[in-house]
C-alpha cells in the first residue's frame, strides 16, 4: 500500500484510455466495424440532415392514400396521402435524440448503482444488486409498457422509463467489473489515504471500466432505439400526425399491398441503424477483449432477445 500502488493505478487509467483508442482502431480495421459504422452513420445523417432536404412538409397532402411511387413522391404516399419519403426524412431525429438521451441516462444510473454496490459491499451491495435482479426479471418492453400505459407518455417519462429499463443490465456489467477493480491495491491504497469514496470511484475505478462501458453503451443504444420505436409503433409517445419511423410502420400496414414503401422504408432505416450499431459495437468488443470474450459480452446478449 504505497505510492507505487497509486502510480500503478494512474498508469492503469492511462492504459485504459489507450485501450479504447486501440479498440476503436481495431474495430475500424475489421470489415464488421467498418460496415457497422457506415450503416449507423448513414442513418444518423439521414435523420439529422433529412429535415433539411425533405421535399414536403410532414402533413402535406401529395396523393390519394397509399398511392404507389409517382412523380413528386418517389416512395409513394402513406395512409393519409402524405409523402412517405419526407416523413422518413423527418421521422428519425426525435427518435434518435430520445434514444441517445435514455441510453445516456441509463449509463449514468446503471454505473452509479453497479459501482456503488461494488465499492460499498455489505448490505448496500445486497440491496442494490437484488433490486437490479428484480428489475431484470421483467422483460424490458413489458416494464416500459406497464409504466407508460399507467402514467401516460410525456417525453421526460418516456426517456426515464426506457433508462430505468436499461439500467439494470448496465449495473450488472459495471458491478462485475468494478468488484475486481475495487479490490486492487491501488484503489485500496487511495481509500486508506482518506480520499472520499466519490473521488476514488471517479478517478480510479470508473476509468478502468471505460472499455466495457463503451461496449455496453453501444448495445444499449441499439436496444433503446428498438424499444422507443416499438412504443411508437404501439401508439405511445407520439402525437398523432407526427412523423416517426415506428408509427409509420403501424399506420401504413393496411396500405402495404398498394404502397409497400410506407412500411418498408421506415422498417429498413430502423433495421440498418440497429444492425449497424450492433455490428460496430461487436467489432469494438472483439478488438478490445479478443474474439472469445467478445462473444460473451456482445453476441451472447444478442439484439432482440431478452438481454
Amino acid at each position: 500500500m504505497t505510492t507505487e500502488a497509486v502510480d500503478a493505478g494512474r498508469r492503469g487509467n492511462r492504459r485504459e484510455r489507450g485501450a479504447i483508442r486501440r479498440a476503436l482502431r481495431g474495430a475500424l480495421r475489421s470489415w464488421r466495424g467498418r460496415i457497422g459504422l457506415v450503416m449507423a452513420l448513414a442513418v444518423l445523417a439521414l435523420a439529422f440532415l433529412g429535415p433539411l432536404v425533405a421535399p414536403h412538409a410532414a402533413t402535406d397532402f401529395v396523393a390519394l392514400p397509399s398511392s404507389p411511387r409517382g412523380p413528386g413522391y418517389p416512395l409513394g404516399s402513406d395512409g393519409l396521402g402524405q409523402d412517405v419519403l419526407s416523413r422518413v426524412l423527418l421521422g428519425g431525429r426525435k427518435l434518435l435524440l430520445l434514444a441517445v438521451l435514455s441510453t445516456g441516462l441509463a449509463l449514468v444510473l446503471g454505473t452509479l448503482i453497479g459501482v456503488t454496490a461494488a465499492y460499498r459491499r455489505g448490505w448496500a451491495e445486497t440491496a442494490l444488486m437484488r433490486g437490479v435482479d428484480v428489475l431484470l426479471a421483467f422483460p424490458q418492453l413489458v416494464f416500459v409498457l406497464l409504466v407508460v400505459s399507467v402514467l401516460g407518455t410525456p417525453t421526460w417519462l418516456l426517456v426515464l422509463t426506457v433508462a430505468i429499463a436499461q439500467a439494470p443490465q448496465i449495473a450488472r456489467v459495471v458491478h462485475a467489473g468494478a468488484q475486481d477493480i475495487c479490490e486492487r491495491d491501488f484503489v485500496q491504497a487511495v481509500a486508506l489515504w482518506g480520499v472520499p469514496p466519490r473521488q476514488v470511484i471517479a478517478r480510479h475505478v470508473l476509468p478502468s471500466l471505460s472499455t466495457p462501458l463503451a461496449v455496453e453503451a453501444g448495445l444499449r443504444l441499439g436496444f433503446s432505439i428498438v424499444i422507443i420505436s416499438g412504443l411508437n409503433f404501439l401508439g405511445f409517445g407520439v402525437q398523432p400526425g407526427t412523423p416517426s419511423w415506428g408509427v409509420m410502420i403501424n399506420e401504413n400496414r393496411l396500405g402495404m399491398a398498394s404502397n409497400p414503401w410506407g412500411v418498408v422504408a421506415p422498417a429498413l432505416v430502423l433495421a440498418i441503424l440497429a444492425i449497424g450499431t450492433n455490428l460496430f459495437t461487436d467489432a469494438f468488443a472483439r478488438a478490445a477483449f479478443g474474439e472469445d470474450r467478445a462473444d460473451d459480452t456482445v453476441i451472447g446478449s444478442g439484439m432482440g432477445a431478452t438481454p
Partner: protein, 536 residues
C-alpha cells in the same frame, strides 16, 4: 337532465339510453364505424352501377352457408333485439327478428311486419295493422298483442327505443284484433312511423327470453357465443314466401381489419365489412368484389356552444370554414363517401336543398376570429379511434387550422378513456353517428339538456320550438318544411362541423349474390341477408 356518458367498453346488457347503443351500429372500443351506400352511382367507386351490381349474377339460388367476418363486436355481444350494442349484434338480430318498419337501403322507412301504420287527425292515436298468418320460430302465432308486448318491454326496461315512443300511453293502447293494434299517445305525436324504423324496434313474442331467442325473422337460432360466433339456420316457415335463400348463416367476430383481410383472403369467410379505404386497392387487385357505398354516417367535430371560445358564434363559424372538405375526404377516406355541409341527416326527406356548400376560407376564418378576439387561438381537439377515420380527421383538421393561425393539438385517447372522461365534457372533440332521420338526430343531439348526446351543447329556443312543432305534426310536407328551417339554424349557428359523410366499404367473394347499394351505413349490405344467396 344529462345522464352519464356511456362507456362503450362496458355496455353489456346495460340499459342506459346511450347513443352508442342508440345511433350507432358499431363497436365497442374498436376502431370501426360502419358506413353506407347510395342507390345511385355507387359513390366514387364506379365499379358498380345497379342495385344488384357486383357479385354473382343470374337468378338467386337456394342453399349454402354464408360466412360473415364482422368487426366491431366483443364479449358483451347480445341477441336481445331491443338492447343490442355492436355491429355484429345488429347483423344478428336482423336475421332472427323482424321490425314493424325498417330503414330500407335508400334510408326511407319501409313496412316489414307492419302492413299499415296510420294516425288519426291529430296524431294522438295510431292504428298499426300487421301481416296476417305470421308465426314465430317456435310455431306460435304472432299477433297485435305481441306488438304491444314488444313496446311494453322496451318501455319497462328503458331500452333505447323507449325514448322514441314519445308520449305513448300503454294503458290506453290495446289490441283490436289479431292483426290490429291501437296505440294511444297523451299528446299529438306525428313521427311514429319514422321512429319505428329506428333499429331497436324488433318485434318479440310475449314471454320473450333473449337466452332462448324466438322471433319471426328469416333465420332461426342454432348457436351463439358472445364475442365469437353465431350460427342461424333457415326459417322454413318464413312469412315472406321464397325467402330466405340461404340454408345457414354464420356470423364471426373478427377483431381488427388485418385479421379480417387474412380470414377473407384465405377463404374462411365470404364477406368482410366496415373496412377502411386503405384495404380497397389490395382487395380489388385480388379480384374480390369490393363494394363501396356512400352513407349518412358522420364523424363530426363537436364545438361546445356553452364554453369558450365556441360560446361566440363567430368562432363556430370560423371553425366551420377551416376544413378543405374534398381534401379531407380524399385523405381520410380515399375520396369515397361524400362532402358534408355541417348539417346531419343528408338523406332525410326534409333535408333542405338550398344550403350553399360551405368551402374552406381561411382568410374569412381569420377575420371572424379576430372580430371575436381570438386571433391567437390554441386549443385541444380531444379524440379517440371510435369510428373509422376519426383520429385521422382530427389530424387533417389540425393541419388545416394552422393556415388560419389556430394551433390545434390533437389529444388522442383510447376509446374507453375518451367516453368515460372526455366525451360531452370537452370544449372541442369528435363524435360519430350512423345515418338516422333528421328528427331522431335532432332529438338526441340538439335540444339542450333534453338531448342525451348533445356534444355541441346546443340550446337554441327557436330550434327547440321548431322541433316541438315538427314531432307533433302529422303532415309530412309541413314537417319537412320545419326540418328545413331547423337545418338552416344549424347551418348558421350550430356546433357540429360535418366536413364529410363517410363511406361503407365491404368485400365479397365472387360467389355471393343479392348485393344492393344502401346509404344506411349498416355494413354489409344493410344486414339484408335474407335476400342474399350463393352461386355454386
Amino acid at each position: 337532465m344529462k345522464i352519464a356518458p356511456p362507456n362503450p367498453l362496458n355496455m353489456a346488457g346495460a340499459v342506459d339510453l346511450n347513443r352508442r347503443k342508440f345511433l350507432q351500429i358499431t363497436s365497442l372500443g374498436l376502431a370501426v364505424v360502419t358506413t353506407g351506400g347510395l342507390l345511385t352511382a355507387c359513390g366514387s367507386d364506379g365499379s358498380s352501377s345497379s342495385p344488384s351490381s357486383g357479385g354473382a349474377s343470374g337468378a338467386p339460388k337456394k342453399g349454402g352457408t354464408l360466412r360473415v367476418g364482422s368487426t366491431g363486436g366483443g364479449t358483451t355481444d347480445t341477441l336481445d333485439p331491443q338492447a343490442w350494442a355492436t355491429l355484429p349484434d345488429q347483423l344478428r338480430v336482423q336475421q332472427l327478428y323482424d321490425p314493424l318498419v325498417w330503414m330500407a337501403a335508400d334510408g326511407t322507412p319501409t313496412m316489414v311486419l307492419a302492413k299499415e301504420i296510420t294516425p288519426n287527425a291529430d296524431g294522438t292515436e295510431w292504428t298499426i295493422t300487421i301481416q296476417s298468418g305470421v308465426t314465430t320460430h317456435n310455431g306460435k302465432p304472432f299477433t297485435a298483442e305481441d306488438v304491444l308486448f314488444s313496446f311494453q318491454r322496451i318501455l319497462d326496461n328503458k331500452y333505447p327505443g323507449a325514448f322514441l315512443l314519445g308520449p305513448i300511453d300503454m294503458k290506453a293502447s290495446k289490441a283490436v284484433d289479431d292483426t290490429t293494434a291501437k296505440v294511444v299517445f297523451s299528446k299529438p305525436f306525428g313521427i311514429l312511423m319514422n321512429n319505428l324504423s329506428f333499429p331497436y324496434f324488433y318485434m318479440v313474442p310475449r314471454g320473450f327470453d333473449p337466452a332462448k331467442p324466438d322471433g319471426t325473422g328469416p333465420f332461426k337460432f342454432k348457436s351463439f357465443t358472445a364475442g365469437e360466433e353465431s350460427t342461424f339456420v333457415r326459417n322454413e316457415n318464413y312469412w315472406q314466401s321464397g325467402l330466405p335463400y340461404l340454408d345457414e348463416i354464420v356470423i364471426q367476430n373478427i377483431t381488427d381489419e388485418s385479421s379480417q383481410l387474412s380470414a377473407f383472403q384465405s377463404g374462411q369467410v365470404d364477406i368482410v365489412n366496415a373496412l377502411s379505404a386503405g384495404s380497397v386497392a389490395a382487395l380489388k387487385s385480388g379480384g374480390y368484389n369490393v363494394k363501396i357505398n356512400e352513407s349518412g354516417n358522420w364523424v363530426p367535430f363537436t364545438m361546445n356552444c356553452q364554453a369558450e371560445p365556441f360560446s361566440d358564434v363567430r368562432v363556430r363559424q370560423a371553425f366551420r370554414l377551416i376544413p378543405n372538405r374534398q381534401q379531407m375526404l380524399d385523405q381520410v377516406f380515399g375520396g369515397y363517401g361524400k362532402v358534408g355541409n355541417d348539417v346531419f341527416s343528408p338523406y332525410d326527406a326534409g333535408f333542405p336543398s338550398d344550403l350553399p356548400q360551405r368551402e374552406q376560407d381561411l382568410d374569412q376564418a381569420k377575420s371572424l376570429l379576430k372580430a371575436a378576439g381570438y386571433s391567437d387561438l390554441s386549443i385541444k381537439l380531444t379524440t379517440a379511434p371510435a369510428a373509422a377515420g376519426e383520429v385521422n380527421m382530427a389530424q387533417v383538421f389540425a393541419t388545416a387550422a394552422k393556415g388560419a393561425g389556430i394551433n390545434v393539438q390533437v389529444d388522442e385517447h383510447d376509446v374507453g378513456t375518451f367516453y368515460s372522461n372526455y366525451y360531452l365534457k370537452v370544449p372541442f372533440g369528435t363524435d360519430y353517428g350512423t345515418n338516422q332521420s333528421f328528427l331522431a338526430n335532432a332529438s338526441q343531439l340538439m335540444i339542450g339538456d333534453n338531448s342525451f348526446y348533445n356534444a355541441n351543447h346546443f340550446d337554441d329556443p327557436e330550434y327547440t320550438q321548431l322541433y316541438d312543432q315538427a314531432v307533433t305534426s302529422v303532415d309530412d310536407t309541413e314537417r319537412n318544411r320545419i326540418i328545413g328551417e331547423m337545418a338552416h339554424i344549424d347551418y348558421e349557428r350550430g356546433g357540429y362541423i360535418v366536413p364529410v359523410f363517410s363511406p361503407t366499404i365491404e368485400a365479397y367473394t365472387p360467389k355471393v349474390g343479392g348485393i344492393s347499394d344502401y346509404i344506411t351505413g349498416v355494413s354489409p349490405n344493410n344486414a339484408d341477408f335474407k335476400n342474399m344467396w350463393l352461386a355454386s
